[in-house]
Protein backbone atom coordinates (compact mmCIF):
# COMPACT_ATOMS: atom_id res chain seq x y z
CA UNK A 1 0.00 0.00 0.00
CA UNK A 2 0.98 3.59 -0.54
CA UNK A 3 2.65 2.72 -3.83
CA UNK A 4 1.18 4.19 -7.00
CA UNK A 5 0.05 1.77 -9.66
CA UNK A 6 -1.36 2.42 -13.12
CA UNK A 7 -4.89 1.05 -13.35
CA UNK A 8 -8.02 1.22 -15.47
CA UNK A 9 -10.99 2.82 -13.76
CA UNK A 10 -13.12 -0.34 -13.96
CA UNK A 11 -10.39 -2.48 -12.39
CA UNK A 12 -9.48 0.15 -9.82
CA UNK A 13 -13.09 0.29 -8.60
CA UNK A 14 -13.14 -3.50 -8.30
CA UNK A 15 -9.91 -3.52 -6.27
CA UNK A 16 -11.18 -0.64 -4.12
CA UNK A 17 -14.28 -2.67 -3.28
CA UNK A 18 -12.11 -5.58 -2.18
CA UNK A 19 -9.97 -3.21 -0.11
CA UNK A 20 -13.21 -1.96 1.48
CA UNK A 21 -13.98 -5.47 2.69
CA UNK A 22 -16.39 -6.44 -0.09
CA UNK A 23 -16.19 -10.16 -0.85
CA UNK A 24 -19.31 -10.64 -2.97
CA UNK A 25 -20.01 -9.61 -6.53
CA UNK A 26 -23.07 -10.47 -8.61
CA UNK A 27 -23.32 -9.15 -12.17
CA UNK A 28 -24.08 -9.67 -15.81
CA UNK A 29 -21.89 -8.71 -18.78
CA UNK A 30 -22.49 -5.40 -20.54
CA UNK A 31 -20.20 -2.92 -22.30
CA UNK A 32 -18.45 -0.68 -21.22
CA UNK A 33 -17.88 -2.09 -17.73
CA UNK A 34 -16.83 -5.69 -18.41
CA UNK A 35 -13.33 -5.16 -17.09
CA UNK A 36 -14.86 -4.76 -13.63
CA UNK A 37 -16.59 -8.17 -13.33
CA UNK A 38 -13.69 -9.81 -15.16
CA UNK A 39 -11.30 -8.43 -12.56
CA UNK A 40 -13.59 -9.60 -9.76
CA UNK A 41 -13.78 -13.10 -11.24
CA UNK A 42 -9.98 -13.35 -10.94
CA UNK A 43 -9.49 -11.50 -7.66
CA UNK A 44 -12.38 -12.52 -5.41
CA UNK A 45 -11.44 -16.23 -5.24
CA UNK A 46 -7.94 -15.15 -4.11
CA UNK A 47 -9.41 -13.45 -1.05
CA UNK A 48 -12.01 -16.10 -0.24
CA UNK A 49 -14.84 -14.17 -1.87
CA UNK A 50 -17.58 -15.08 -4.32
CA UNK A 51 -17.94 -13.91 -7.91
CA UNK A 52 -21.17 -14.99 -9.56
CA UNK A 53 -22.23 -14.25 -13.13
CA UNK A 54 -26.00 -14.19 -12.84
CA UNK A 55 -28.57 -15.19 -15.46
CA UNK A 56 -29.68 -11.56 -15.83
CA UNK A 57 -29.32 -8.14 -14.26
CA UNK A 58 -32.67 -8.70 -12.58
CA UNK A 59 -31.35 -11.81 -10.87
CA UNK A 60 -28.03 -10.14 -10.07
CA UNK A 61 -29.71 -7.27 -8.22
CA UNK A 62 -31.83 -9.71 -6.25
CA UNK A 63 -28.73 -11.73 -5.34
CA UNK A 64 -27.29 -8.44 -4.06
CA UNK A 65 -30.47 -8.01 -2.01
CA UNK A 66 -29.95 -11.49 -0.53
CA UNK A 67 -26.26 -11.03 0.20
CA UNK A 68 -26.78 -7.55 1.67
CA UNK A 69 -29.60 -8.83 3.87
CA UNK A 70 -27.34 -11.66 4.97
CA UNK A 71 -24.99 -9.00 6.32
CA UNK A 72 -22.21 -8.84 3.73
CA UNK A 73 -20.60 -5.94 1.89
CA UNK A 74 -21.65 -6.55 -1.70
CA UNK A 75 -21.07 -4.94 -5.10
CA UNK A 76 -22.72 -5.08 -8.49
CA UNK A 77 -21.88 -3.15 -11.62
CA UNK A 78 -23.52 -2.53 -14.96
CA UNK A 79 -24.18 0.06 -17.62
CA UNK A 80 -27.37 1.95 -18.43
CA UNK A 81 -29.70 -0.72 -19.96
CA UNK A 82 -28.52 -3.19 -17.34
CA UNK A 83 -29.11 -0.68 -14.56
CA UNK A 84 -32.71 -0.28 -15.73
CA UNK A 85 -33.14 -4.03 -15.17
CA UNK A 86 -31.44 -3.81 -11.79
CA UNK A 87 -33.88 -1.14 -10.66
CA UNK A 88 -36.25 -3.83 -9.38
CA UNK A 89 -33.72 -5.11 -6.90
CA UNK A 90 -32.47 -1.60 -6.10
CA UNK A 91 -35.96 -0.45 -5.10
CA UNK A 92 -36.31 -3.48 -2.80
CA UNK A 93 -32.84 -2.89 -1.36
CA UNK A 94 -33.77 0.73 -0.63
CA UNK A 95 -37.18 -0.30 0.74
CA UNK A 96 -35.73 -2.97 3.02
CA UNK A 97 -32.96 -0.54 4.07
CA UNK A 98 -29.99 -2.62 3.04
CA UNK A 99 -26.48 -1.39 2.32
CA UNK A 100 -25.10 -2.19 -1.13
CA UNK A 101 -22.93 -0.51 -3.74
CA UNK A 102 -23.94 -0.31 -7.40
CA UNK A 103 -21.69 0.94 -10.20
CA UNK A 104 -23.21 2.45 -13.36
CA UNK A 105 -20.76 3.09 -16.18
CA UNK A 106 -23.27 5.12 -18.16
CA UNK A 107 -23.66 4.78 -21.93
CA UNK A 108 -25.92 6.58 -24.37
CA UNK A 109 -29.64 5.79 -24.47
CA UNK A 110 -32.61 5.48 -24.48
CA UNK A 111 -33.24 1.85 -25.36
CA UNK A 112 -30.17 -0.03 -26.41
CA UNK A 113 -28.60 3.35 -27.26
CA UNK A 114 -24.87 3.05 -27.80
CA UNK A 115 -21.77 2.10 -25.89
CA UNK A 116 -20.03 5.47 -25.81
CA UNK A 117 -19.73 7.69 -22.75
CA UNK A 118 -22.83 9.43 -21.51
CA UNK A 119 -24.34 11.07 -18.46
CA UNK A 120 -27.92 10.51 -19.45
CA UNK A 121 -28.88 8.39 -16.42
CA UNK A 122 -28.66 11.36 -14.03
CA UNK A 123 -32.43 11.46 -13.50
CA UNK A 124 -32.60 7.69 -13.00
CA UNK A 125 -29.76 7.72 -10.50
CA UNK A 126 -30.67 10.76 -8.46
CA UNK A 127 -34.46 10.80 -8.49
CA UNK A 128 -35.06 7.22 -7.47
CA UNK A 129 -34.96 5.24 -10.69
CA UNK A 130 -37.03 2.32 -9.53
CA UNK A 131 -40.56 2.60 -8.16
CA UNK A 132 -41.42 4.20 -4.85
CA UNK A 133 -40.26 7.09 -2.73
CA UNK A 134 -36.57 6.47 -2.24
CA UNK A 135 -33.13 7.91 -2.91
CA UNK A 136 -29.70 6.51 -3.51
CA UNK A 137 -26.57 8.30 -2.47
CA UNK A 138 -24.99 8.97 -5.87
CA UNK A 139 -21.27 9.62 -6.18
CA UNK A 140 -19.60 10.77 -9.41
CA UNK A 141 -15.81 10.41 -9.59
CA UNK A 142 -13.85 12.37 -12.18
CA UNK A 143 -10.56 10.51 -11.93
CA UNK A 144 -9.47 6.95 -11.35
CA UNK A 145 -8.04 7.87 -7.94
CA UNK A 146 -11.31 9.49 -6.96
CA UNK A 147 -13.19 6.41 -8.20
CA UNK A 148 -11.09 4.36 -5.79
CA UNK A 149 -11.60 6.72 -2.86
CA UNK A 150 -15.34 7.10 -3.45
CA UNK A 151 -15.84 3.35 -3.84
CA UNK A 152 -14.26 2.76 -0.46
CA UNK A 153 -16.33 5.55 1.03
CA UNK A 154 -19.48 4.23 -0.66
CA UNK A 155 -19.36 1.07 1.44
CA UNK A 156 -19.03 3.14 4.61
CA UNK A 157 -21.94 5.40 3.64
CA UNK A 158 -24.07 2.39 2.66
CA UNK A 159 -23.49 0.77 6.05
CA UNK A 160 -23.93 4.04 7.96
CA UNK A 161 -27.38 4.72 6.51
CA UNK A 162 -28.39 1.16 5.56
CA UNK A 163 -28.98 2.52 2.06
CA UNK A 164 -27.74 1.63 -1.41
CA UNK A 165 -25.05 3.88 -2.88
CA UNK A 166 -24.49 4.29 -6.61
CA UNK A 167 -21.18 5.20 -8.24
CA UNK A 168 -21.77 6.77 -11.64
CA UNK A 169 -19.08 6.98 -14.27
CA UNK A 170 -18.87 6.47 -18.00
CA UNK A 171 -16.70 4.61 -20.49
CA UNK A 172 -13.94 7.19 -20.09
CA UNK A 173 -13.70 6.84 -16.32
CA UNK A 174 -13.99 3.07 -16.70
CA UNK A 175 -11.42 2.51 -19.44
CA UNK A 176 -8.92 5.27 -18.71
CA UNK A 177 -5.73 4.39 -16.86
CA UNK A 178 -4.34 6.70 -14.22
CA UNK A 179 -2.02 6.19 -11.27
CA UNK A 180 -3.84 5.14 -8.13
CA UNK A 181 -2.97 4.56 -4.54
CA UNK A 182 -4.98 2.40 -2.16
CA UNK A 183 -4.81 4.18 1.15
CA UNK A 184 -6.22 1.49 3.39
CA UNK A 185 -7.40 -2.08 3.47
CA UNK A 186 -10.25 -3.42 5.56
CA UNK A 187 -10.51 -7.02 6.70
CA UNK A 188 -14.20 -7.98 6.53
CA UNK A 189 -13.73 -9.85 9.82
CA UNK A 190 -13.06 -6.48 11.51
CA UNK A 191 -16.31 -4.88 10.35
CA UNK A 192 -18.95 -4.35 13.03
CA UNK A 193 -21.57 -7.09 13.16
CA UNK A 194 -24.97 -6.18 11.69
CA UNK A 195 -27.50 -7.27 14.30
CA UNK A 196 -30.38 -6.90 11.82
CA UNK A 197 -28.93 -9.34 9.28
CA UNK A 198 -30.32 -12.80 8.56
CA UNK A 199 -27.74 -15.38 9.54
CA UNK A 200 -29.93 -17.83 11.48
CA UNK A 201 -31.91 -16.81 14.57
CA UNK A 202 -29.51 -18.35 17.05
CA UNK A 203 -30.53 -17.38 20.57
CA UNK A 204 -32.36 -14.29 19.40
CA UNK A 205 -35.67 -13.20 17.89
CA UNK A 206 -35.89 -13.80 14.16
CA UNK A 207 -34.82 -11.09 11.74
CA UNK A 208 -36.90 -10.22 8.70
CA UNK A 209 -35.71 -8.38 5.59
CA UNK A 210 -38.80 -6.88 4.06
CA UNK A 211 -40.29 -3.94 2.18
CA UNK A 212 -43.96 -4.92 2.44
CA UNK A 213 -46.23 -2.78 4.61
CA UNK A 214 -49.85 -3.57 3.75
CA UNK A 215 -51.24 -1.16 6.32
CA UNK A 216 -50.99 2.33 4.74
CA UNK A 217 -50.33 3.91 8.13
CA UNK A 218 -47.36 1.61 8.59
CA UNK A 219 -46.08 2.30 5.08
CA UNK A 220 -46.37 6.04 5.60
CA UNK A 221 -44.41 5.70 8.81
CA UNK A 222 -41.77 3.76 6.91
CA UNK A 223 -41.69 6.37 4.11
CA UNK A 224 -41.23 9.17 6.66
CA UNK A 225 -38.43 7.24 8.32
CA UNK A 226 -36.73 6.91 4.94
CA UNK A 227 -37.26 10.61 4.27
CA UNK A 228 -35.66 11.52 7.58
CA UNK A 229 -32.67 9.44 6.51
CA UNK A 230 -32.44 11.27 3.16
CA UNK A 231 -32.68 14.61 4.98
CA UNK A 232 -29.78 13.57 7.17
CA UNK A 233 -27.80 12.67 4.05
CA UNK A 234 -28.52 16.14 2.67
CA UNK A 235 -27.07 17.56 5.86
CA UNK A 236 -23.98 15.35 6.12
CA UNK A 237 -23.06 13.75 2.83
CA UNK A 238 -22.82 16.64 0.37
CA UNK A 239 -19.55 16.52 -1.54
CA UNK A 240 -18.25 18.94 -4.15
CA UNK A 241 -15.12 20.67 -5.38
CA UNK A 242 -14.70 24.22 -6.56
CA UNK A 243 -12.00 25.65 -8.84
CA UNK A 244 -11.03 29.29 -9.42
CA UNK A 245 -14.25 30.58 -7.89
CA UNK A 246 -12.57 33.59 -6.19
CA UNK A 247 -12.72 35.85 -9.22
CA UNK A 248 -15.10 33.88 -11.42
CA UNK A 249 -17.71 35.81 -13.36
CA UNK A 250 -19.15 32.73 -14.99
CA UNK A 251 -19.27 29.36 -13.33
CA UNK A 252 -19.43 26.01 -15.07
CA UNK A 253 -21.28 23.27 -13.21
CA UNK A 254 -20.22 19.83 -14.42
CA UNK A 255 -19.50 16.42 -12.92
CA UNK A 256 -17.43 13.33 -13.71
CA UNK A 257 -15.62 13.24 -17.04
CA UNK A 258 -17.31 16.45 -18.18
CA UNK A 259 -15.82 18.32 -15.24
CA UNK A 260 -12.32 17.24 -16.37
CA UNK A 261 -13.02 18.61 -19.83
CA UNK A 262 -14.43 21.78 -18.26
CA UNK A 263 -11.09 22.29 -16.47
CA UNK A 264 -9.36 22.35 -19.85
CA UNK A 265 -12.01 24.78 -21.11
CA UNK A 266 -11.40 27.05 -18.12
CA UNK A 267 -7.67 27.16 -18.95
CA UNK A 268 -8.48 28.20 -22.52
CA UNK A 269 -11.11 30.75 -21.44
CA UNK A 270 -8.75 32.34 -18.92
CA UNK A 271 -6.09 32.63 -21.64
CA UNK A 272 -8.67 34.76 -23.44
CA UNK A 273 -9.17 36.79 -20.25
CA UNK A 274 -12.59 35.37 -19.40
CA UNK A 275 -12.87 34.63 -15.69
CA UNK A 276 -14.48 31.22 -15.45
CA UNK A 277 -14.72 28.99 -12.39
CA UNK A 278 -16.03 25.50 -11.74
CA UNK A 279 -18.36 23.85 -9.27
CA UNK A 280 -18.04 20.11 -9.55
CA UNK A 281 -20.73 18.13 -7.71
CA UNK A 282 -19.15 14.92 -6.41
CA UNK A 283 -22.32 13.76 -4.69
CA UNK A 284 -25.20 14.06 -7.18
CA UNK A 285 -27.55 13.05 -4.41
CA UNK A 286 -27.39 14.80 -2.02
CA UNK A 287 -26.92 17.64 -4.49
CA UNK A 288 -24.57 20.49 -3.48
CA UNK A 289 -27.31 23.10 -3.71
CA UNK A 290 -25.95 25.42 -0.99
CA UNK A 291 -22.65 26.19 -2.71
CA UNK A 292 -24.52 26.83 -5.97
CA UNK A 293 -27.01 29.11 -4.21
CA UNK A 294 -24.09 30.99 -2.63
CA UNK A 295 -22.36 31.32 -5.99
CA UNK A 296 -25.58 32.76 -7.44
CA UNK A 297 -24.99 35.77 -5.22
CA UNK A 298 -21.53 36.39 -6.70
CA UNK A 299 -21.20 35.32 -10.32
CA UNK A 300 -22.97 36.66 -13.41
CA UNK A 301 -24.18 33.42 -14.87
CA UNK A 302 -23.98 29.65 -14.85
CA UNK A 303 -23.20 27.22 -17.62
CA UNK A 304 -24.15 23.61 -16.97
CA UNK A 305 -22.26 21.15 -19.17
CA UNK A 306 -23.41 17.54 -19.37
CA UNK A 307 -23.25 14.56 -21.68
CA UNK A 308 -27.05 14.55 -21.80
CA UNK A 309 -29.84 16.65 -23.25
CA UNK A 310 -30.09 18.49 -19.94
CA UNK A 311 -30.72 16.70 -16.67
CA UNK A 312 -28.55 18.05 -13.84
CA UNK A 313 -29.32 21.54 -15.18
CA UNK A 314 -32.76 21.24 -13.53
CA UNK A 315 -31.18 20.82 -10.10
CA UNK A 316 -28.83 23.73 -10.77
CA UNK A 317 -31.80 25.92 -11.72
CA UNK A 318 -33.58 24.94 -8.51
CA UNK A 319 -30.51 25.88 -6.48
CA UNK A 320 -29.97 29.17 -8.36
CA UNK A 321 -33.69 29.84 -7.87
CA UNK A 322 -34.00 32.44 -10.60
CA UNK A 323 -31.30 34.73 -9.23
CA UNK A 324 -29.08 34.36 -12.31
CA UNK A 325 -29.31 32.99 -15.79
CA UNK A 326 -28.48 29.28 -16.08
CA UNK A 327 -27.28 28.21 -19.53
CA UNK A 328 -26.87 24.68 -20.74
CA UNK A 329 -24.50 22.97 -23.12
CA UNK A 330 -24.81 19.26 -23.73
CA UNK A 331 -23.59 16.60 -26.09
CA UNK A 332 -25.48 13.34 -26.29
CA UNK A 333 -25.47 9.89 -27.77
CA UNK A 334 -21.88 9.19 -26.76
CA UNK A 335 -20.40 12.38 -28.19
CA UNK A 336 -17.96 13.98 -25.77
CA UNK A 337 -17.80 17.79 -25.62
CA UNK A 338 -14.40 19.28 -26.39
CA UNK A 339 -12.88 22.12 -24.35
CA UNK A 340 -12.99 24.33 -27.48
CA UNK A 341 -16.74 23.79 -27.87
CA UNK A 342 -17.30 24.76 -24.24
CA UNK A 343 -15.22 27.93 -24.69
CA UNK A 344 -17.25 28.82 -27.78
CA UNK A 345 -20.36 28.46 -25.68
CA UNK A 346 -18.89 30.68 -22.96
CA UNK A 347 -18.08 33.36 -25.52
CA UNK A 348 -21.53 33.06 -27.10
CA UNK A 349 -23.39 33.65 -23.86
CA UNK A 350 -21.02 36.46 -22.97
CA UNK A 351 -20.69 35.14 -19.46
CA UNK A 352 -17.91 37.50 -18.58
CA UNK A 353 -19.60 40.65 -19.74
CA UNK A 354 -21.43 42.55 -17.04
Amino acid sequence: MGEKILMKGNEAIAEAAIKAGCRYFFGYPITPQNALPEYMSRRLPEVGGVFLQAESEVAASNMVYGAAGAGARVLTSSSSPGISLKMEGISYIAGAELPAVIVNMMRGGPGLGGIQPSQSDYFQATKGGGHGDYRLVVLAPSSVQEAVDLTMEAFEIADRYRNPVMIVGDGIIGQMMEPVEFKKEIDPADLPKKDWATDGAKGREKNVINSLFLDPRELEKHNLKLKAKYDKMKEKEVRYETYKMDDAELVIVAYGTTARIALSAIELAREKGIKVGLIRPISLFPFPEKIIAEAAGKVNSFLVVEMSAGQMVEDVRLAVNGKKEVYFYGRTGGMVPSPEEIVEEIVKIGGAIK
Binding site: K4, L6, P32, Q116, P117, G171, I172, Q175, M176, M177, E178, P179, T257, R260, I261, A262, L263, S264, I266, E267, G334, M335, V336, S338, P339, E340
Partner: protein
Protein backbone atom coordinates in the same frame (compact mmCIF):
# COMPACT_ATOMS: atom_id res chain seq x y z
CA UNK B 1 5.46 20.71 -18.45
CA UNK B 2 2.49 19.11 -20.16
CA UNK B 3 2.70 16.83 -23.16
CA UNK B 4 -0.30 15.36 -24.97
CA UNK B 5 0.49 12.41 -27.22
CA UNK B 6 -1.71 10.37 -29.52
CA UNK B 7 -0.48 7.00 -30.79
CA UNK B 8 -2.36 5.31 -33.61
CA UNK B 9 -2.13 2.34 -35.94
CA UNK B 10 -3.75 -0.90 -36.98
CA UNK B 11 -4.99 -3.17 -34.23
CA UNK B 12 -2.07 -5.48 -33.46
CA UNK B 13 0.66 -2.90 -34.09
CA UNK B 14 1.01 -2.44 -30.36
CA UNK B 15 -0.08 1.17 -30.03
CA UNK B 16 -2.01 0.51 -26.83
CA UNK B 17 0.94 -1.13 -25.14
CA UNK B 18 3.44 1.55 -26.22
CA UNK B 19 1.05 4.08 -24.68
CA UNK B 20 0.79 2.12 -21.46
CA UNK B 21 4.57 1.77 -21.27
CA UNK B 22 5.05 5.50 -21.77
CA UNK B 23 2.40 6.39 -19.18
CA UNK B 24 3.83 3.91 -16.71
CA UNK B 25 7.35 5.32 -17.11
CA UNK B 26 5.99 8.85 -16.67
CA UNK B 27 4.35 7.77 -13.43
CA UNK B 28 7.63 6.22 -12.25
CA UNK B 29 9.33 9.58 -12.80
CA UNK B 30 6.76 11.21 -10.54
CA UNK B 31 4.66 12.90 -13.19
CA UNK B 32 0.89 12.98 -13.46
CA UNK B 33 -0.18 10.67 -16.28
CA UNK B 34 -3.31 9.44 -18.01
CA UNK B 35 -3.84 6.78 -20.68
CA UNK B 36 -7.05 6.71 -22.62
CA UNK B 37 -7.81 4.02 -25.21
CA UNK B 38 -9.64 4.86 -28.42
CA UNK B 39 -13.18 5.16 -27.50
CA UNK B 40 -15.71 6.55 -29.86
CA UNK B 41 -16.55 6.69 -33.56
CA UNK B 42 -12.86 6.85 -34.44
CA UNK B 43 -12.61 3.16 -33.56
CA UNK B 44 -14.15 2.42 -36.94
CA UNK B 45 -11.90 2.12 -39.96
CA UNK B 46 -9.46 -0.33 -38.47
CA UNK B 47 -7.40 2.09 -36.45
CA UNK B 48 -6.70 1.76 -32.77
CA UNK B 49 -5.35 4.68 -30.85
CA UNK B 50 -4.65 5.90 -27.40
CA UNK B 51 -4.02 9.24 -25.81
CA UNK B 52 -1.31 9.65 -23.22
CA UNK B 53 -0.92 12.84 -21.25
CA UNK B 54 2.13 13.47 -19.10
CA UNK B 55 2.21 16.56 -16.97
CA UNK B 56 3.92 18.03 -13.95
CA UNK B 57 0.49 19.19 -12.81
CA UNK B 58 -2.92 17.59 -12.37
CA UNK B 59 -4.34 16.59 -15.75
CA UNK B 60 -7.64 18.23 -16.67
CA UNK B 61 -9.21 16.49 -19.68
CA UNK B 62 -7.75 13.04 -20.39
CA UNK B 63 -8.71 13.51 -24.05
CA UNK B 64 -6.69 15.57 -26.51
CA UNK B 65 -8.02 17.58 -29.41
CA UNK B 66 -4.70 19.42 -30.11
CA UNK B 67 -1.93 16.91 -29.31
CA UNK B 68 1.69 18.06 -28.98
CA UNK B 69 2.89 14.85 -30.57
CA UNK B 70 1.32 12.21 -32.78
CA UNK B 71 2.90 8.85 -33.64
CA UNK B 72 1.28 7.10 -36.58
CA UNK B 73 2.00 3.54 -37.53
CA UNK B 74 -0.19 3.34 -40.67
CA UNK B 75 -1.72 5.52 -43.39
CA UNK B 76 -5.32 5.84 -42.08
CA UNK B 77 -3.88 7.12 -38.81
CA UNK B 78 -1.76 9.68 -40.62
CA UNK B 79 -4.78 11.00 -42.46
CA UNK B 80 -6.84 11.16 -39.33
CA UNK B 81 -4.38 12.60 -36.85
CA UNK B 82 -1.93 14.76 -38.85
CA UNK B 83 -4.44 17.65 -39.06
CA UNK B 84 -4.91 17.57 -35.28
CA UNK B 85 -1.28 18.16 -34.29
CA UNK B 86 -0.76 21.44 -32.48
CA UNK B 87 1.05 24.14 -34.44
CA UNK B 88 4.76 23.66 -33.79
CA UNK B 89 4.11 20.10 -32.68
CA UNK B 90 5.68 16.89 -33.89
CA UNK B 91 4.49 13.95 -35.94
CA UNK B 92 6.42 10.68 -36.09
CA UNK B 93 5.61 8.57 -39.12
CA UNK B 94 6.22 4.88 -39.64
CA UNK B 95 7.87 5.37 -43.04
CA UNK B 96 8.07 1.62 -43.59
CA UNK B 97 4.33 1.57 -44.22
CA UNK B 98 3.53 5.20 -45.08
CA UNK B 99 4.80 6.67 -48.34
CA UNK B 100 2.58 9.73 -48.21
CA UNK B 101 4.05 13.10 -47.22
CA UNK B 102 2.56 15.28 -44.52
CA UNK B 103 0.89 18.28 -46.10
CA UNK B 104 1.66 20.74 -43.33
CA UNK B 105 4.67 23.01 -42.92
CA UNK B 106 3.89 24.21 -39.40
CA UNK B 107 4.83 20.94 -37.69
CA UNK B 108 7.96 18.88 -37.39
CA UNK B 109 7.92 15.57 -39.28
CA UNK B 110 10.14 12.67 -38.23
CA UNK B 111 10.25 9.58 -40.42
CA UNK B 112 10.93 6.33 -38.64
CA UNK B 113 11.35 3.13 -40.69
CA UNK B 114 9.95 1.21 -37.75
CA UNK B 115 9.05 -2.06 -39.47
CA UNK B 116 12.34 -2.29 -41.38
CA UNK B 117 14.34 -1.90 -38.19
CA UNK B 118 12.10 -4.30 -36.30
CA UNK B 119 12.54 -6.87 -39.07
CA UNK B 120 16.31 -6.40 -38.92
CA UNK B 121 16.06 -7.22 -35.24
CA UNK B 122 14.11 -10.35 -36.13
CA UNK B 123 10.66 -9.48 -34.78
CA UNK B 124 8.28 -7.17 -36.64
CA UNK B 125 6.20 -6.79 -33.50
CA UNK B 126 8.76 -4.48 -31.88
CA UNK B 127 8.13 -1.77 -34.51
CA UNK B 128 6.16 0.07 -31.84
CA UNK B 129 9.26 0.19 -29.60
CA UNK B 130 11.39 1.57 -32.46
CA UNK B 131 8.83 4.34 -32.82
CA UNK B 132 8.72 4.98 -29.07
CA UNK B 133 12.52 5.06 -28.92
CA UNK B 134 12.60 7.75 -31.61
CA UNK B 135 10.00 9.77 -29.73
CA UNK B 136 11.89 9.53 -26.45
CA UNK B 137 15.10 10.72 -28.09
CA UNK B 138 13.32 13.67 -29.72
CA UNK B 139 11.30 14.84 -26.73
CA UNK B 140 12.83 14.82 -23.33
CA UNK B 141 9.58 14.03 -21.50
CA UNK B 142 10.49 10.64 -20.04
CA UNK B 143 13.97 9.11 -19.87
CA UNK B 144 14.72 6.19 -22.20
CA UNK B 145 16.24 4.40 -19.24
CA UNK B 146 13.02 4.66 -17.21
CA UNK B 147 11.04 3.24 -20.11
CA UNK B 148 13.43 0.30 -20.36
CA UNK B 149 13.18 -0.35 -16.65
CA UNK B 150 9.38 -0.26 -16.89
CA UNK B 151 9.26 -3.08 -19.44
CA UNK B 152 9.33 -5.76 -16.79
CA UNK B 153 6.35 -4.20 -14.99
CA UNK B 154 4.23 -3.58 -18.07
CA UNK B 155 4.94 -6.77 -20.02
CA UNK B 156 3.22 -9.86 -18.65
CA UNK B 157 5.68 -12.30 -17.11
CA UNK B 158 5.32 -14.84 -19.91
CA UNK B 159 6.71 -12.18 -22.28
CA UNK B 160 9.74 -11.29 -20.18
CA UNK B 161 11.99 -13.19 -22.58
CA UNK B 162 11.20 -10.39 -25.06
CA UNK B 163 12.62 -7.64 -22.83
CA UNK B 164 16.10 -7.64 -24.49
CA UNK B 165 14.71 -7.28 -28.02
CA UNK B 166 12.33 -4.54 -26.86
CA UNK B 167 15.26 -2.67 -25.30
CA UNK B 168 17.25 -3.04 -28.47
CA UNK B 169 14.32 -1.72 -30.53
CA UNK B 170 14.03 1.30 -28.22
CA UNK B 171 17.77 1.99 -28.66
CA UNK B 172 17.62 1.65 -32.44
CA UNK B 173 14.69 4.07 -32.60
CA UNK B 174 16.49 6.54 -30.36
CA UNK B 175 19.69 6.29 -32.47
CA UNK B 176 17.73 7.42 -35.53
CA UNK B 177 16.96 10.80 -34.04
CA UNK B 178 20.24 11.51 -32.27
Amino acid sequence: MKEEIIMAGFGGQGVMSMGKLLAYAGMKEGDEVSWMPSYGPEMRGGTANCTVIISSEKIPSPLSSRPDTVMVMNLPSLEKFAPMVKEGGTILINSSLIAKEVERDDIEVIKVPANEIANELGNSRVANMVMLGAYLARKNIVKLDTVKKSLKDVLPERRHDLIPINEEALDRGAALVK
